[in-house]
């Protein structure tokens, strides 16, 4: 792969000289890791973020990456909106550490609330500067000019100049992004519409090259030796048979043992020929003590809820293609943190970050599961030893076993209500799974509320996941709310509304339950109805579900109605798609997904053993979007996942009277 530097890149775009030089200076400033801006401050000048070519083509640069959440499309909409151009003239360069401003990573639903405004600031300043430049050139007041479709025009004297010609006259490094010039949602023209996925055509034709599809001249295919369990130590390994195979490079570097060969089959055979001895170190078992709870109201409920370890199962497993050129490293890898991976590589190989170039082509999903750079590091080790480019694609089994998992956890909740059905006290302790979404949105006096997260040294490698622990905490909270409602004989919707002042959450709850005809639904032994709601990271979700129950306790989720509000809507169709996708993904963790493990060994690391949602599992899903143009847009990749599990648990309860307090629900229901 060519080692792009930003100057070469811009030359291919036909940029003006000033822009090229200033952009080069800019990137050098960031890549020092310190420099004139201090560590990792976002650059404030337009040159770092935007390039307007002589031909009027606009290139925008962002460290965010595309993993299916469709931000390539939504950020393009933001830039096109501010520059008053059709989105087709805007190209986004994403996640390429040599070309884009430093970025922490694509996670936490941050792109829409933070990156989109940043890029709008830059594009708005660029628009304003193009207008000023024309105004100066024509000696007319700025107010008489407007920018549209690639031209700044003067309506009075019928004069116009192209963005490309004007841009060449501007020293963009001195143009600073300006939030005051940003277009409010009420005046959006490109954002707020259903722009189709930018590179959908490449996806349906197979032309898009994911990392696992890349091929370099002379490239070898790698495989890595793995132990039987997490934490196992390599005692000895005999690689002599592999070393004798034609065209096989064996790499041993401390604990790391791998092979590279001219084709994937030879690499696999070479790996299989190795005999290794491992020492396993089972992780400590943890016991937790249920603490004493106190209740203040007239009725109280105490219950404990559990969630299991689950895996992200991105359909494209971790993959990396690494190549060394004169001591410098270029790696393409599917990661949500290209700059983070660059740091990891710098640490492992003792290189300055300026000698490492990480590229991130649009990748086959992440869901919070691709933050780490282990595959990139392994590919780089193999490539270094082989003296050739190496591609490494983790097998599905490796992805299950050696990536990281969404944590398991236990959540203890005790609550009480007063005679008026108002929550009088609330104790909520999440052990091990995480603090996201821990805080209750329901009205409880601060002095009568305890909300806490307790950490531990985990038995398995764990990390981020779509929504993090918000799913676990909403499962516990929203199940618990239903338990209390049942105990005092109040309808679950009425009980929530009686305890909820948050207007936006009330609005989604009302919207979903009205569409669902909640008040008309009557549960029977074979049909249950449940609801749940929640908010996190600026997103508000309410979910109603209808389940069919068989006599043998089989559960079929038949219908979901979800209402969602995350502020001003950027792309309604893509937003719906995200909400639907989150519900489908959440259905798996709710019903059947579970990593089986003992002593650091994963027992079901294959798709034939670990069930994920398929076509026949998926219910009818209706999504109601609430467009709040008066509220800044929040992200939507995560929080729509939190409502489905408790809504299903509550629906099962309504049909059977059985309260299932563990996710996944199906095995727990079978045991109940």
């Amino acid at each position: 792969m060519p080692e792009w530097r930003r100057r070469d890149f811009l030359r291919t775009l036909g940029g003006g000289l000033l822009v090229m030089l200033s952009a080069e200076y800019d990137v050098a400033g960031q890549e020092s890791g310190g420099g004139r801006r201090g560590e990792h401050d976002l650059p404030s000048d337009v040159a770092a973020w935007l390039h307007i070519g002589r031909d009027g083509k606009i290139t925008a640069f962002t460290g965010k990456v595309e993993v299916g959440q469709n931000i390539r499309t939504s950020l393009t909409q933001a830039v096109a909106d501010e520059l008053r151009v059709p989105p087709s003239v805007v190209t986004l360069v994403m996640g390429d550490t040599a070309l884009v401003p430093w970025d922490m990573g694509t996670f936490g639903s941050r792109t829409t609330p933070t990156m989109a405004p940043e890029m709008r600031k830059m594009a708005a300043a660029a628009r304003d500067t193009l207008i000023s430049t024309a105004a100066t050139q024509w000696s007319v007041p700025k107010e008489h000019l407007h920018a549209k479709d690639g031209f700044v025009a003067n309506g009075d004297i019928k004069r116009r100049a192209s963005y490309g010609d004007l841009a060449a006259k501007v020293d963009w490094v001195n143009v600073i992004g300006n939030a005051d010039l940003v277009t409010p949602p009420t005046h959006w023209e490109v954002a707020g519409t259903d722009l189709p996925k930018i590179n959908a055509r490449e996806m349906v034709t197979g032309k898009h090259k994911y990392v696992s599809d890349l091929k370099l001249p002379g490239m070898l295919y790698g495989r890595v030796l793995r132990g039987p369990s997490q934490g196992s130590k390599l005692i000895s390994v005999d690689t002599s048979a592999a070393a004798k195979m034609a065209g096989v490079v064996v790499v041993r570097d401390g604990e790391f043992v791998g092979v590279a060969a001219g084709d994937e089959r030879t690499a696999e055979k070479a790996l299989a020929s190795m005999e290794a001895k491992w020492e396993e170190k089972p992780p400590a078992n943890y016991k937790y003590v249920v603490e004493k709870f106190h209740s203040l109201g007239s009725e109280s409920v105490q219950a404990s809820y559990q969630v299991a370890y689950i895996a992200h199962v991105p359909l494209e497993p971790r993959a990396a293609v690494a190549q060394w050129n004169n001591g410098k490293l270029v790696v393409s890898t599917g990661t949500q943190r290209p700059f983070g991976v660059r740091s990891e590589l710098a640490g492992v190989f003792g290189l300055p970050e300026t000698d490492i170039h990480v590229l991130m082509p649009d990748t086959g999903s992440g869901y919070g599961g691709k933050h780490s750079g282990e595959c990139a590091i392994e590919a780089a080790r193999l490539a270094k030893a082989a003296g050739k480019a190496v591609k490494l694609i983790w097998t599905r089994e490796e992805e299950f076993t050696w990536a990281y998992l969404r944590p398991e956890g236990v959540i203890d909740v005790t609550s009480s209500v007063d005679a008026g059905g108002k929550l009088a006290s609330w104790q909520f302790v999440n052990r091990y799974s995480g603090p996201a979404g821990l805080k209750t949105p329901y009205d409880v006096d601060e002095g009568r509320k305890i909300e806490r997260f307790e950490e531990r040294e985990p038995p398995l490698r764990e990390g981020s996941y779509r929504g993090l622990a918000s799913t676990a905490n909403h499962f516990a909270r929203e199940s618990h709310l239903d338990e209390m409602a049942a105990k005092i004989g109040v309808d679950p919707l009425a009980f929530r509304l009686n305890n909820l002042k948050n207007e936006r959450l009330r609005a989604v709850l009302v919207a979903a339950t009205e569409r669902f005809r909640w008040s008309k639904q009557k549960a029977t032994a074979s049909r249950g109805f449940g609801l749940a709601c929640g908010f996190d990271k600026g997103g508000h979700i309410a979910c109603c579900v209808e389940v069919a129950m068989s006599a043998s306790r089989e559960v079929k989720v038949e219908r979901v109605v979800a209402a969602w509000d995350c502020g001003a809507i950027v792309n309604p169709n893509h937003l719906k798609n995200q909400v639907e996708g989150a519900i489908v993904m959440g259905l798996g963790g709710a019903l059947f997904e579970e990593i089986e493990h003992t002593d650091g060994r994963i027992h079901n690391p294959r798709l034939s053993q670990y069930r994920v949602p398929r076509f026949t599992d998926v219910p009818k899903i209706e999504v109601i979007l609430i467009d709040r143009k008066d509220v800044p847009s929040a992200g939507a990749g995560e929080t729509p996942i939190v409502g489905i599990a408790p809504a299903i648990a509550n629906a099962i309860f309504s049909a059977t009277g059985l309260r299932i307090r563990a996710m996944p629900l199906l095995p727990a229901l079978a045991r109940a």
């Binding site: 996806m203 034709t205 197979g206 359909l315 497993p317 086959g364 996708g581 398929r614 998926v618």
Partner: protein
């Protein structure tokens, strides 16, 4: 070994037991077929063999010698997309797109056998193809849409 892929013949040298998926991807640069699981569980590697959907990750290459293999790269008619491909775009029936090539081919095979499938038939026939992003309902909609387009163009062809 002689393979016939997307209407072209090509001679390859390969271990006959090697899965078709890796021959396509690593020898012939046809990377539309994806690796997802290696055990025929996810459908990302789907290709057509004599018009029928096959899991190329568990198909030894020798078993398809001399048969007509279609990969996603061979589906469009020049710049004109196959109706199923177009319907996937129109229905926004993807997110990350990694499952899409396999889904499209599985849907093409389904429509060949069942030109106007019901929801239940689509879900049943495509159940072996995973979309982790969860765009299943949109894919069902896309298959219906493509079915309508194909039927309409067949009708036109008959009247022409």
């Amino acid at each position: 070994m002689d393979l016939s892929i997307n209407g072209r013949r090509c001679a390859i040298q390969s271990d006959p037991e090697r899965p078709l998926l890796w021959v396509l991807r690593n020898e012939l640069d046809l990377t539309g077929a994806k690796y997802g699981c290696g055990e025929g569980q996810c459908g990302a590697c789907t290709v057509l063999v004599d018009g029928v959907a096959h899991r190329s990750c568990i198909t030894p290459v020798y078993t398809v010698a001399g048969r007509e293999i279609t990969t996603v790269e061979g589906l469009a008619d020049g710049e004109r997309l196959h109706p199923v491909q177009q319907a996937f775009i129109d229905c926004d029936a993807m997110q990350c797109g990694y499952c899409t090539c396999g889904m499209v081919l599985a849907a093409v095979a389904l429509l060949r056998k069942t030109p106007m499938p019901s929801d239940a038939e689509i879900k049943q026939k495509l159940d072996g193809n995973l979309c982790r992003c969860g765009t299943y309902n949109r894919i069902v909609e896309a298959v219906h849409k493509a079915a309508g387009v194909i039927q309409a163009s067949n009708r036109e062809a008959q009247h022409a």
